[in-house]
Subunit: 640 residues, 2 copies
């Protein structure tokens, strides 16, 4: 039996025995070694690179590994069979990957302003930001030989009289610590919990100075997870954070993740990857920043797509993928943090924004809630640009939704120099048609050098390359120049920043594979919009408003998005970027019982259109995979 | 650092490092080596014997170890300080101890008849043996592309229409397995749960042929644990079992256990000893016998004293022991099997019969429920003879209760040849005054040889020894004869069976230490009765009925119990032995929602008298530690 040693960059060594012929990527997964593999091992993404130090491995040539790289030992791990004892170097994806995925949402004043606007809109629409959580200090008489009432009754009576309730529930978690907490604090304690009418559910008993009560809003994206910690009394955001979804090593998209969870032990692996590896460290970090204990988190609201919801709770997601595409659940009542061992009060409700169908999930319900389109007379189109693209169309009378698989391009994934819309991201670009020289707008302070390209930047670059005739309608380079380079296979790229101009010392460019990936992403989105409008028999002119949401970045240039055939060609003033509306919706659910109820209502009233079985969708998609489209009459303004 | 190897008889070796001077019993506990130590290490019981094989240990002489035994290496582990590396042989207490503690309750036709009588009495008293648990098979249409309702809704709707309920709760435990169970059984499944009015709590979803629903009644005694598994539909007892309480190695009585749980890690140790080591194996065993899965257990009812209840749930019991003697709880709502990781349906309610005071617990509430004295006009005295003796006096208008520490003598503990009232137990005895020869009644089939003595046997033997003038009022031997032997220290004993007459090949005898232990036990009981009657200012003549409960055995001779001054001197026809009424009460709570509610009511209406602070109790106890009493006028019939 060969033995493989993984040398992890900047970290330890992991040793695992295997069978001759075992796949190296699978082996790394078994050994719990994190290797970035967005395509889940089919050889297409080229991200799972490792370096062979010693030993023999069978492999096949790959366009992702140059000859020099191969000589130096670089291999795609998904493309390796172990033949003998080996030592393999694993580059630290944590740093590269995490920096690519660093906090984007709510990280800039612009993002915060967008969030505050959305909140104000909801309040303006009549949603009260009030909840039923209570924190209060109660005092009891200490027991004596003449007053031998047991702790539980003494405590219950004190709560009844302090809060004016009839029924008090004191669950196991609180009962277990009651005797010692009462005595350590001489029978003056802080009580936290839910007050509903005449009932109080006691969720914690603490020292009197430990009075914080907190909620946690979580947006679980296929690629990125974002979270805010909210003071349940004031609504103030106490801390925020995000990171890549740890499940990414099981595949970049929901289909690959579902396949992986269907393997033996898969459900647990995928659940551990999102809960233990991703959510728990962020929550712990936010609690530290906010200076609170995890038990102070009394409610968690999760906005996630249908598959992410299934993987999060550990329920088999296979039926979501297989015809007739049946989710196990839409909404879910009564789920507790303790059920999932989340680092929060074990009695805290975990509220999952309800799913609508197999591929339109709670992230869209929450986002739709936040957009307020369900409250308006005008016809709105709501577009969430994530790894899955989801579209909602309608108004207060009806809401129609569908989803398409866009891939991670909008969040900077699947793009060689891609990154989230954070410091150093190229978020906008203009190219001089004559000289072909670019002018870049970089996220961050003045003087910030470019690090990579975020979604809005890519839109601009492609639109400009196309406008300047540098690429053709298929996204291939058709004009030569200083900034257009070709590699050994003849693949063209456009250099935005030379090595000495970038923050990292590496060239920042966009190549034909990147452009192709992006065209397919935008094609998926546009064809979905197209079909959704067809299904309700409405023309593009019927659209009164277009809300664009997602991690694509606040710098999105709507004119360019129309020019490349990604968004429908409507008047520019109809477009509105509303940021991470899933997170905004989850925030509203945390703070407001009314928003919570409204979210369930929005979910129940939304109709789901399954695109994968919809006649004509594939044709529409293929037609949309051009700049701007095979039918350019759809984009009159782009053709000007 | 010395290293100690424990060689466990018939088992493995356990190795632990320690400090020079460490106590050997403490070390065994740290190493999780079970050594019987009813006195919890104060050197008084002589049960914690081990044999030194090699190494040096510092020890003190003990009356429990003879010179020959000492030479052979025998030591009391509580009395040993480790000086060097040692190897120590630990006799297998499991077999000796378990056989001593083998199933007694409901093991004989007589016991079962007593149980059935008690059940019939409850039904006669108007208690309906009905509950709200449901098991039913439901059929659903399989999903298609035209019928894409998610599993949770499909399931909920099917239950609503099958059971005619409005609200269906499908908790995490069920949701997690719903998708796969539905598909494995082609959407025809068995559903189990609680139906309350218009609501249904779904507790399990199974294959359609797995329809059993079961309850578990548990009596947790300080010394012995007894359990029955009950079919929730028919009320039939499916399996029964018992064993010693694994906490016994932390002390024989509640006081020692409370002290032990107060040490670092103590709460967990004591909880593990009762749950992991004691209850879980019995439950697993009963499930196997009954051929059901643990998830079929939908309700558990526990009858236990106040301390056992605290240790069971893992709540600090220290305030129970310390003035002003405050239990953490009386009743407890909402405790689930999952909270305690009991091998049952995690959603099953664990219903704890409510405590009344620090030393009158749920075992007495449940026992009182079963006795039906709360439903009668006549004045009843209810006496539960366990390690703690508890007394209840009253009728439908009032109920007064108190407790005393009797020690394990009534259950055969603290008695050199003691055992529970099971096969081979001497349960009755008559001694010829002339020849001093005994005539024994043995539990079991004809020809059964004696194994030991159970509580009822000890009463007879002591009463007969006293009547024949063989022992005096202090329990010391004052007449010599063939059957009266003395050891090297001059301690007298009476031989009931010679070595060749017993089942075990060992002599069966009762010695002065046994008699002294028993006299203190009966003295505690009688003085408690005495004080309880005084507290309500009632004479012995006011007693209309005396119910005797507990593991003392159905053979109890009430006349002899009066003769030795254990029970008050009332007409014999007023006495009634009702078996293990705690278990009967717990059984009633499992099967009957009405009994459940009534038990809470009985608990709430009972007054608790704290004997330890009651003036005059110590004097009454000392006066009762004679045969029959210092004031023989209290026992006119005994004096005839």
């Amino acid at each position: 039996m060969p033995n493989v040693i993984f040398q992890i960059e900047g970290g330890n060594e992991v040793n695992i025995a295997c069978q001759t012929g075992d796949n190296l990527l699978e082996l790394a997964r078994r050994a719990n070694v994190a290797i970035d593999a967005p395509c889940s091992g089919n050889g297409s993404c080229g991200k799972c690179r490792v370096k062979l130090i010693s030993g023999e491995i069978e492999t096949f040539p790959s366009r992702h590994i140059s000859e020099e790289e191969y000589e130096a030992g670089w291999r795609l791990s998904c493309n390796c069979k172990v033949l003998t004892d080996c030592t393999v170097f694993v580059p630290d994806i944590a740093s590269a990957y995490q920096s690519r995925m660093k906090t984007a949402d709510l990280s800039s004043p612009k993002e915060i302003a967008i969030f505050e606007d959305a909140k104000a809109n909801m309040i303006g629409g009549g949603i009260e930001f009030k909840n039923h959580f209570v924190t209060t200090v109660i005092e009891m008489a200490e027991p004596t030989l003449d007053d031998t009432m047991p702790d539980a009754e003494r405590f219950t009576w004190a709560i009844q009289s302090a809060l004016g309730v009839e029924k008090v529930d004191v669950p196991f978690f609180v009962m277990k610590k009651l005797a010692s907490t009462l005595r350590e604090n001489r029978f003056t304690v802080c009580v936290k919990g839910e007050k509903k009418g005449e009932s109080f559910l006691c969720m914690d008993v603490c020292a009197p100075d430990d009075a914080a009560i907190v909620g946690c809003a979580i947006d679980i994206g296929t690629t990125t997870v974002t979270m805010v910690l909210v003071d349940l009394t004031s609504g103030k955001i106490l801390a925020k954070g995000s990171s890549g979804n740890g499940q990414i090593r099981y595949g970049a998209d929901v289909i690959n993740r579902i396949i992986q969870q269907g393997k033996p032990g898969g459900k647990k692996n995928l659940q551990d990857a999102i809960i233990k590896e991703t959510l728990n460290p962020i929550i712990a970090n936010l609690c530290k920043t906010a200076g609170i204990s995890a038990n102070a988190i009394l409610r968690l609201c999760v906005a996630a797509n249908t598959t992410m919801n299934h993987l999060f709770v550990g329920v088999d997601a296979e039926p979501v993928r297989m015809e007739p595409y049946i989710p196990s659940f839409f909404g879910w009542e009564g789920l507790k943090a303790g059920d999932l061992k989340l680092p929060a009060n074990p009695l805290a409700d975990v509220q999952i924004a309800p799913n609508i169908g197999s591929y339109v999930g709670g992230d869209i319900t929450a986002g739709t809630l936040a957009s307020m389109i369900w409250d308006k007379d005008e016809m709105s189109l709501f577009i969430d640009l994530g790894t899955n693209g989801e579209i909602v169309f309608g108004n207060r009378d009806f809401l129609m939704s569908c989803a398409c698989s866009a891939g991670p391009a909008f969040e900077g994934g699947d793009i060689s120099c891609g990154m989230r819309a954070t410091d150093g991201a190229v978020e906008a670009c203009v190219i001089d048609k004559e000289t072909m020289e670019p002018t870049l707008t970089i996220v961050g302070d003045a003087g910030q050098k470019p690090v990579g390209i975020c979604g809005s930047g890519i839109i601009d670059i492609i639109a400009e390359l196309f406008r300047c005739g540098i690429i053709n309608a298929k996204g291939l380079f058709v004009r030569e120049g200083d900034r257009v380079k070709r590699d050994e296979h003849g693949m063209g790229r456009y250099v935005l920043a030379w090595e000495n101009e970038s923050e990292t010392g590496r060239e920042i460019a966009i190549n034909e594979v990147d452009i192709d990936n992006f065209i397919r992403a935008k094609g998926a989105i546009f064809s979905a919009i197209d079909i959704l409008l067809q299904s309700v028999d409405m023309p593009v002119e019927a659209i009164d408003k277009v809300y664009v949401a997602g991690g694509i970045g606040s710098g999105i240039n709507m004119r360019n998005a129309v020019r490349i055939g990604m968004l429908p060609d409507v008047e520019l003033e109809k477009f509105c970027y509303i940021g991470n509306s899933s997170l905004t919706g989850a925030y509203a659910m945390v703070m407001s019982d009314q928003a919570n109820a409204k979210c369930a209502e929005v979910g129940a009233n939304m109709t789901y259109l399954e695109l994968s079985t919809y006649p004509g969708y594939m044709d529409a998609f293929v037609a949309a995979c051009f700049l701007p489209h095979t039918d350019s009459s759809l984009f009159p303004s782009a053709m000007e």
